[in-house]
Amino acid sequence: MISFIGRSAVQKMITLFFVSIVSFLIIHLAPGKPSQVDPMNPKFTPEMVERFRSEFHLDKPLTIQYLYFYRDLFTGRTVSWKDNQSVLLKIWERFLNSLPLFIVGTILTWTLSFPVGIRSALQRGGNFDRSSTFLAYLLISIPGFFFAYVLIIFVVTQFQVPVIGMETFGIGSTSPMTRFMDRIWHLLLPSVLGATAGIAVLSRYVRSQMLEVEGQDYVRTARAKGLPPDQVHYKHALRNALLPFVTMFGLILPGLIGGSVITESIFSWPGMGRMAYEAILARDYPVILTVNFISAVLVLIGTFISDLLYLVVDPRIRL
């Protein structure tokens, strides 16, 4: 166990090192350079460009830039080129905004996919199965932004209530309860949109796991014993079918920082995804690289946790 953890940690560190190099190279070798001040501003002079270049170390060789960047990142001194704010603080602030979306989205995904998936597995080939299959694929297949606009326009024109942003703007002086509910309302549409694909995929996965387990001998045995079907399905089968999902908890972790660029920019939700997108537009290299780095760390931690959970849960695997 200890040796597994140690080996895994070393491996992940090496992976992380290469990820940092690859992302650094991708960003710095792409054509086009960051422009701090709009280059088409008639007041802009080449000397200013030079000064910004040296300010951002862009005049140094790439290797030095790489070292500078990661030195700053690990000492927490990285600042955004766009507004000179600490990148880590910025990310933290955005992370807090993305968090409710992520939580509600995840809850929706996990609570909805299980009943749907189980039911369609139990009624394989039946009407419910067929229609839920079809619906799941429908949800995966809609271009996200198209679906978002259709929903927004429907709600705004039919009910004339605001749906954009994190709360109704200017609602300041009402009761805390109203404000809380207002926030929940604003969470509804974006988190539903964020969860649709997840629900569809996860419910399909639950279905196939259930089907697989239902075909196993011990389930047949249980059934043959004459146990009531509910007990067979929900006790014997479901428990074993759940096994792989336990490990999926680790894999949720990267979703924390991912955020959806498209949903967040449509709903002007000030989350991670939108910050990353705007950083790309502004070529704010420190922000892009830091987001990339943190999400890589989360992915690695996520897989690590999921490996560990697998060890813990599945008695067949022993190291």
């Binding site: 008639p42 927004i152 605001p162 002007s268």
Partner: protein
């Protein structure tokens, strides 16, 4: 089965909780009815977030929108675009002019050219200007005082780029005596008009080199450049004296005075701050505080746009001076040596003396301002001002319909629908920017003005305005802002005339070949038209132009490039045939950077390579002329030259339209103290928010006072 029930109940409960929240959310009507606070808030939207709320550091529109509310400037422009005093009550502009005594020139009528007698000659001429004709008399009459400055010797170190890279040279200068002329008003022709008096060669034959010796031998041309900068024959020093408004306070209660003006200037010029506005203030020679309410700004040379630069927000010196910055750096445990205005928390917590004070800023969400009760002009009617950051135009529109934004910049195709909506009032005007097709005049087919003109004639710009802009645009013929007097309305735009275009091209040697393409000496008229991606209108023009040119037999390829690639790789490196771009213009008529022939190199803004001797002269004259009337005359001439050369096909200026809720009105105090309501009306120049501080939102549309 518990598990089974749980699996069904859990999602149902969660969905119910989410859905019931709908009943708590206010709809369009409820927002103003049940929430009186909403009426005193003005909420607007911006596509992008502000970068930094320090007027000397920011260069984006979102920041300047906020800054215009938080900071106040010395002057701004009134309804007719003339300057109007804000923090400055009034200002005087005059000039001090200098010339060095020329020992080599003989002055007609004087036996010896010693300073006393030359000064005496000018003095007596200035008292009796009638003996001279026209312009000369005018210049002489303008002279208020003549004084003599003694000769002086000094040394200076000068850095220059020599054959071995950067070098330094020590120069010993022994300058002759100078004569100082104090003028009532700025006069760029002064020395030309003194020539009849002092001799035609007096100024031009001044031997600057003779007064300078260097420790290193310089090449002659570099030496004379250095000498001319150290010992110039003549020098114009325009001077602006601002008389400041007494009793103005910053939001923190500190009193505003001349020191703040001087500090703002110094902060811009401080190289550590990397201010993008350095170029504006580079001509300033000195800023002196005469007394707490008087500040004198001396300029190195004639530069008439200079006054406009004082529309810049004034920073509070007491919060940002070196001592304050050092304290802040120490508090934050940062290195004081590298801690500048850019790092200071002031950039996200600005303090100015404008009508609104800064309250809070959530990145990519909103910026909130609160009314400043002690504003010198009286506090605004709104108590809150908020800018929300909403990147997507459709989302902005939805928020406007939901009532959580008060104004909305309408897209052209929506104007017709929204202007009929009874809930809204709408305003429109033409903007300060124009869109053009620019030709790289260094490349073969575009060297010929006939080709550029013909290409312009082949495009039906009116059709573009009518259909692409949905009528929300006007034609433009030259580089000046259409609302100002500088724009020459006598010039008519290029007609849409494909036949005429073909004739013009034929006269330039381009004929259609068997397959219909235009050819000259066996080569097709073929080029690539490029523009940046992400701009719908430019993309549309790209398609229209390609289509129109194909019809007259021009083989055009098109390319859309990402903005930074477009600018850095193509425009800055002058690697293009033709491009579609736009300029956002200032009101000021200074065209030096975009049209002067010295600005045609890579990374400069005259990337089309326009060169015209007369235009160059006019551009210089315009930026040196302080007399509005004369400036207008020069501008009209320059406009005509550029329109005839067609380095750009000037296409259109866009019209903007804004819609507001009808319930937003102007509220003023009537003579008896009761409120009087007026409809919001745009100024002559189309600025509907000119009276913004008097705006207020009402629960219903009121009865308006008669507009007198």
């Amino acid at each position: 089965m518990l598990t089974r029930r749980l699996l069904i109940i859990a999602p149902a409960v969660i969905i119910l909780i989410l859905l019931q929240s709908y009943f708590w959310v206010p709809s369009y009507e409820q927002q103003t009815r049940g929430n009186p606070d909403r009426l005193v808030q003005y909420i607007t939207a911006s596509a992008g977030d502000a970068s930094i709320l320090n007027p000397i550091l920011s260069a984006d529109t979102a920041s300047s929108q906020i800054q215009s509310q938080v900071f106040d400037s010395l002057i701004d422009r009134d309804k007719d675009l003339h300057f109007r005093g804000r923090l400055a009550l009034s200002w005087d502009i005059y000039e001090e002019a200098f010339f060095h005594m020329n020992p080599t020139a003989a002055v007609p009528g004087l036996s010896s050219s010693d300073p006393e007698s030359v000064a005496g000659l000018i003095r007596s001429a200035a008292q009796t200007p009638g003996r001279w004709s026209g312009a000369v008399a005018e210049s002489l009459a303008n002279i208020q005082a003549v004084t003599i400055l003694p000769s002086r010797t000094f040394s200076a170190t000068h850095a220059f780029k020599g054959p071995e890279g950067a070098q330094q040279v020590d120069a010993q200068i022994s300058a002759p005596a100078r004569v100082r002329l104090v003028l009532n008003r700025v006069d760029q022709d002064l020395f030309k008009n003194l020539e009849p008096l002092l001799g035609a060669e007096y100024f031009s034959s001044f031997p600057s080199d003779a007064f300078l010796s260097t420790d290193v031998d310089l090449p002659p041309e570099q030496l004379s450049v250095l000498a001319e900068s150290m010992v110039p024959a003549v020098e114009h020093n325009p001077i602006i004296v601002f008389h400041l408004r007494p009793g103005v306070r910053f939001h923190d209660g500190h009193v505003f005075d001349a020191g703040d003006v001087k500090f703002t200037y110094e902060a811009i010029m401080n190289p550590k701050n990397l201010s993008p506005r350095v170029a504006d203030y580079e001509p300033v020679k000195a800023v002196e505080v005469i007394d707490p309410l008087t500040v004198k700004i001396t300029y190195k040379r004639l530069y008439s746009p200079a006054i406009g630069t004082w529309g810049m927000g004034i920073l509070p010196e007491h919060l940002l001076n070196p001592r304050a910055l050092r304290e802040e750096a120490e508090r934050l445990d940062k290195d004081p040596a590298t801690f500048t205005l850019r790092q200071s928390r002031f950039g996200r917590n600005p303090v100015g003396c404008g009508p609104f004070r800064f309250t809070s800023w959530k990145s990519d969400q909103y910026i909130r301002l609160t009314r400043f009760g002690d504003y010198w002009e009286g506090p605004p009617n709104y108590t809150q001002y908020a800018v929300r950051i909403i990147p997507d135009p459709l989302t902005q529109e939805m928020e406007f319909y939901a009532g959580t934004i008060d104004s909305y910049q309408v897209q052209p195709h929506q104007v017709a629908r929204l202007s009929e909506d009874a809930r809204f009032q709408n305003f429109s005007g033409i903007s300060f920017g124009y869109t053009y097709i620019g030709y790289n005049m260094r490349r073969a087919p575009f060297k010929d003005p006939r080709v550029r003109k013909a290409l312009g004639m082949a495009i039906d710009v009116d059709k573009i305005i009518r259909y692409v802009l949905h009528g929300q645009g006007e034609r433009i013929t030259g580089p000046f802002v259409k609302q100002t007097g500088y724009y020459n309305h006598d010039i008519s735009p290029l007609p849409y005339d494909p036949e005429g275009a073909l004739e013009l091209l034929e006269s330039a040697g381009w004929r259609r070949n068997a397959s219909g393409w235009l050819e000259k000496d066996g080569r097709r008229l073929a080029f690539t038209l490029i523009t940046n991606s992400g701009n719908q209108l430019r993309q549309a023009i790209l398609a229209v132009a390609q289509d129109a040119w194909k019809k007259i037999g021009v083989d055009v390829r098109t390319d859309l490039l990402e903005w930074s690639v477009f600018i850095q790789e193509r425009v800055n490196k002058l690697d293009f045939d033709a491009l579609i771009l736009g300029w956002q213009m200032g009101i000021d008529p200074d065209l030096y950077q975009i049209w002067h022939s010295s600005q045609t190199g890579p990374y400069q803004l005259n990337f089309v390579g326009f060169e015209n001797k007369e235009a160059d002269d006019l551009i210089i004259k315009i930026r040196q002329e302080y007399d509005h009337r004369k400036q207008v005359a020069y501008c009209h001439r320059l406009h005509r030259i550029i329109a005839e050369a067609q380095p750009y096909n000037f296409l259109y200026v866009r019209k903007w339209t804004a819609v507001l809720d009808k319930r937003i009105v102007i509220r003023e105090q009537g003579p008896d103290g009761s409120p009087v309501y007026r409809k919001i009306t745009p100024t002559k120049t189309g600025d509907y928010a000119y009276d913004f501080n008097k705006w207020i939102k009402l629960p219903g549309v009121p009865v308006f006072a008669q507009d007198g």
